[in-house]
């Protein structure tokens, strides 16, 4: 029985990835790595420092968990597709960090439209990302190389109030 259950679980994971299964449908858009909003870093130093795909997913999960629970920015994530966020944010960071990923999400402008994100919100998320990378043991200089690619997205993500 136990073996049967286990193989059923393995089968279901193989048949349909967990994250995809939970995602809600989105309006059609053109997929492109250009949607990631920045050029990827050259080389794989940052990707490696983040401990590859597994490390990046741990970082993204930690970042999302803390952001959703945050007293300042938590409200922004209410009614958002968190499963989709975990997947697309993982893809985006992997792609920008020089990893072997394709970004399949929307543009930064589309993804944050009408969310009313302020500079303070943006910075709170940066702090959570720093903390998650610290937890994963990503050296400070490599964190900064990634954040340097993300920082200019402030222009499109933060809406003029």
């Amino acid at each position: 029985m136990r073996i049967l259950l286990l193989s059923a679980m393995i089968l279901s994971i193989a048949a349909a990835p967990r994250a995809r299964a939970e995602e809600k449908p989105v309006a059609p858009y053109t997929q492109s790595n250009a949607n990631a909003g920045a050029r990827p870093l050259e080389g794989t130093a940052v990707f490696d420092a983040m401990n590859g795909l597994d490390g990046i997913q741990r970082i993204v999960d930690d970042l999302v968990d803390h952001s959703v629970a945050d007293p300042v920015i938590g409200d922004i994530f209410v009614n958002q597709d968190i499963a989709r966020l975990r997947r697309t944010l993982g893809e985006q960071i992997c792609y920008l960090a020089g990893g072997p990923c394709t970004y399949t999400g929307r543009t930064m402008a589309d993804a944050h439209k009408d969310m009313g994100v302020t500079t303070r919100d943006f910075n709170v998320l940066v702090e959570h990302l720093r903390a998650a990378m610290d937890k994963e043991g990503v050296p400070f200089v490599q964190q900064n190389r990634l954040l340097a690619r993300l920082a200019p997205m402030h222009r499109t993500i933060v809406e003029p109030r």
């Binding site: 702090e127 200089v141 340097a148 200019p152």
Partner: protein
Amino acid sequence: MGNNHSIRGRVAAPFLLAGLMAGAGLAGEASAKPLVNGGKLLLTRGVSAVEGSGGGGLSTWALITGNETEDGVGATAFVTHAPLPDYDLTVVGAAVGLRDRFEISYAHQEFDTGATGPALGLRGNFTFVQDVIGVKVRVAGDAVYDQDRLLPQIAVGAQFKQNTQSNVLRAIGAGNDSGVDVYLSATKLLLAQSLLLSGTLRYTEANQTGLLGFGGDRNDGHSLQVEASAAYMLSQRFIVGAEYRTKPDNLLFAKEDDAYDVFAAYAVSPNLTGTLAYVDLGDIATREGERGIYLSLQVGY
């Protein structure tokens, strides 16, 4: 000679302040949303320079003080102490940042000659005292977010300085007991390199930043001086760096040297930053090699 500049300074200060207030008011009108205070990333407000403006220790930077973003109001207050071999410098001050664009600052500097006073022909513990009111406006760029552009954050500012020791200043050959510095500052965070660079051009006639008056019997009038800083981020909380500042040499009785320092600044929290530096101010009022520890504490909101 007289005190021509003090009159000019007193007229210009309220005029510029009024303009600044009007600018802040317009910015407020443009967005009806309530203010959101706080929110700057750690250390990106800089620390407080000796003249009270947001900057390093010796040099003024283009960063705007306070923890506010473009949506709010922030403030800082600081105390700085530098016990030099022959003098003690103590500065207290406060500054307000408006929407991460305007900055208004105040600093009160006391330069205690201690036991050195009598050797200079002054009474014991004679203290040069100066008040500085500063205004600064960010005119272009964003030091933190524009990581895909070379353009630094650029600010222009003015510092209105009033020294209280008119009689002694006249005796040592200074032209005025007050003066106005104007400056252009450019600051850039090179995040991918964990590096912060800043440069400032200052048009000034201040002797020892104004503690020894303005203009003098060797040179009278403003000259262009340079401030340069470089800092390396060891962590989000901890930066180390160095600064260099050129100064005029206006007085006959004593030569004035350039100043430099090496510093470490640590953000204990978003509201408290401590700075420890080793500063070399060179010769001051005939005394040679004025170098030593520089300590500064800044609270910020």
